[in-house]
Amino acid sequence: MSFLINLAWSALGLAIMFAVLSLVVLSLVWLERKALGRLQLRFGPTRTGKFGLLQPVADAVKLILKEDIVPNDSEKAIFWVAPVIVVVSAFVIWVTIPGGENVVIKHLPLGLFYIVAFAVVGILGLVLAGWGSANKYGIMGGLRSAAQLISYEIPVVLVAAAVAILAQSLDLREIVAAQSSYPYMVVLPLGLVIFFIAGLAEVGRTPFDIYHAESEVVGGPFVEYSGAHWSVFFLAEYINTFAIAALTALLFLGGWGGPGLPDVVWFLFKTYAVILVVFWVRGTFPRLRIDQLMAFAWKVMVPLSFYTVIIAAVYRFYALPWWTLTILSLVGLGVAGWIIYRRMSAPARRVADIQRRLAARRETIASSSST
């Protein structure tokens, strides 16, 4: 009996969770438009509700009311299944993502592994979406999304493993508890950077938005989706964004730990801070090209995350003082940053070259004309 009550509780909790997540998505949509607006010297929505607060609601209602088109050429079954897969995998991981000490549906002992496992399934949804639309842009986008997401999944997994090594647990609550003295951001800044960047790529945000790049593949896998189907993808995308931000907060920023305020508030505060950074990055950067993206994943992120795992393990194994890890990871970060800087700024140095050569040429021209 108690078991059934338990079950009922978790069902209720999950329903609430879904509602809360939907609200969060609405808030994120609003926040994103507002934040981008401010980044770009404008207001963002203002006319729907106070401060445009009802804008995402209006969008959502409208999307539901839109006609839902299933194109003729599409593979109907796949076209229908794809959004379902995406949303289910996006939502299921929230079973174990805690929003506070006791604000969680279930503490799964294998929490982190569970999240990793189900996050992978979502990739499938995007590939299938592109495939099912039988649209060239969709297929290109689907392929791109697969290539991108699988490549960046590996750094995410490895860094998560590094955190697990540090905390000696896969349970998110214990991981947060282990950060009570200092967040892992301090000891493993490299991990934070990798996780954040790979997380950006996982949710397809600028500069990694190549799979739904509007100026190239006009929305990628979603190009044929309209109305409710499309909004489901939209929902999943924002849930994923929130999940990545929440995981960043939990794994590196000390989760709900923080003085004074209730834990949920701290958690939301940190998560939204991460999300604002995501929007900020989005408002600043251009996007990469697919070969650069893949090269970045495999040549930079994967080796670096290997390095992260190994330094974390070594640090644990030999019980080194914590600042060694900080130093090690900063060294990794520095070396990687320097290498990237050298490679990427090569053109910039060539500009100086151009200018020098032009100046020289101008001088010769001037001297020849004067003589």
Binding site: L36, L39, Q40, L41, R42, K136, Y137, M140, T206, P207, D209, I210, A213, E214, S215, E216, V218, R282, G283, T284, F285, P286, R287, L288, R289, I290, D291, Q292, I340, Y341, M344, S345, P347, A348, R350, V351, D353, I354, R357, L358
Partner: protein, 380 residues
């Protein structure tokens, strides 16, 4: 692909094994800058071949010009290169003036130059913004449009319209600039400089932007000349050529400005050249404001019907996108017998096939952006 610009038929390619995918971009595509269409053959993400299709904005302007009186044609020229309107008006007016042997009042020439250079800045700002969009950055376009908006406000104060000014007249200007013109320009200049700098800073040397544009579709100066590339496209290859300098028209010989050139002729160089040109244009405007003489601006023709003598004339001018040429054939009536424009974008775009050799699908967007085409003048 070795021979330049040899289009093939769309449906099938000769290869027996279909290793390429046919991808259609445009006419409605966010990054084709209007209604341009290209059919790409891609192998994975690599572009194998491309066939550009234009004419989705072919409005028959050249033919229409034959049916309009000379003073009405200015409106059509406004609408050809609808980003460099003043530059276009200038080229047309010069062509007819040459035909008639008209002398333009000095003050009018200066005002024309000021407006044209401001228009060049506005045009390049639009370019920077759309280039940012093509490369996936959303904010530069906002910054650059802030500058554009400021320039347009000035244009509105001068000509009464933000875009379609219809302000230059054959032999002069429609009317003198407003009394507070000097003050307006003085207010505008520092702000505009800031806008230009900001859109420059946020994009030009950004590592991601660099890696997207550098070494993409490089072209040598010789090839560029053969393909008829002009303007920033040519200068990016390191060929220092600018009609304003080579055959100074209007009063351009009185200003001191540099011609920025690139080195490799790749997309980034084109971008860089345009950005530098904005700074040079700012310099020209400053000098022109200093030298701006007093005097009449209106055409000596007044409102008389323009009826050039029988004859032909061809003028060249440096538009933001490259060299424009206007060829007018007059038969002595009040309408031109034939009017032909050499639109810079048209020539630049015709080199697309060559430029997209050995590029990625994502590059096609950037290359197209770096061409900075305006479909209105490509298709006319």
């Amino acid at each position: 692909m070795a021979e330049p610009a040899v289009p093939t038929a769309i449906p099938e390619r000769a290869d027996s094994q279909p290793v390429e995918m046919l991808l259609n971009m445009g006419p409605q595509h966010p990054s084709t800058h209007g209604v341009f269409r290209m059919v790409l053959w891609v192998d994975g993400e690599k572009i194998v071949d491309v066939e550009p299709h234009i004419g989705y904005l072919h409005r028959g302007s050249e033919k229409l010009c034959e049916g309009e009186q000379y003073h009405q044609i200015v409106t059509l020229f406004d609408r050809m290169d609808y980003i460099g309107n003043f530059n276009n008006e200038l080229a047309y007016c010069m062509a007819v003036e040459k035909l008639m042997g008209l002398q333009v009042p000095e003050r009018a020439e200066y005002i024309r130059v000021i407006l044209c250079e401001l228009n060049r800045i506005a045009s390049h700002l639009l370019y920077v913004g759309t280039m940012g969009l093509d490369a996936g950055a959303m904010t530069p376009v906002m910054f650059s449009f802030r500058g554009r908006e400021r320039v347009q406000a000035l244009f509105e104060a001068v000509s009464g319209a933000r875009l379609m000014h219809n302000y230059f007249r054959i032999g002069g200007l429609k009317e003198d600039v407003p009394d507070n013109f000097r003050q307006l320009v003085d207010e505008l200049m520092p702000l505009l400089k800031e806008d230009v700098e900001q859109s420059d800073r946020i994009l030009t040397f950004n590592e991601i932007f660099l890696s997207r544009l550098k070494d993409v579709s490089p072209i040598t100066a010789d090839e560029a000349i053969g393909l008829g590339l002009t303007g920033p496209m040519l200068r990016a290859c390191g060929y220092e050529y600018d009609v304003r300098r080579a055959q100074p028209y209007s009063v351009y010989d009185r200003f001191d400005f540099e011609i920025p050139v690139g080195l490799d002729g790749d997309c980034w160089d084109r971008h860089w050249v345009r950005v530098q040109e904005m700074y040079q244009s700012l310099r020209i405007v400053e000098q022109a404001m200093e030298q701006l003489p007093e005097g009449p601006v209106a055409s000596s023709l007044g409102r008389r019907l323009v009826r050039p003598p029988e004859g032909e004339s061809y003028v060249r001018a440096e538009n933001p996108r490259g060299e424009i040429g206007v060829y007018v054939v007059s038969d002595g009536t009040d309408r031109p017998y034939r009017l032909k424009v050499r639109p810079p974008s048209f020539c630049n775009l015709s080199a697309l096939r060559r430029l997209l050799e050995d590029t990625w699908l994502a590059d096609s967007v950037v290359v197209l952006g770096s061409l900075d085409i305006v479909l209105g003048e490509v298709d006319r």
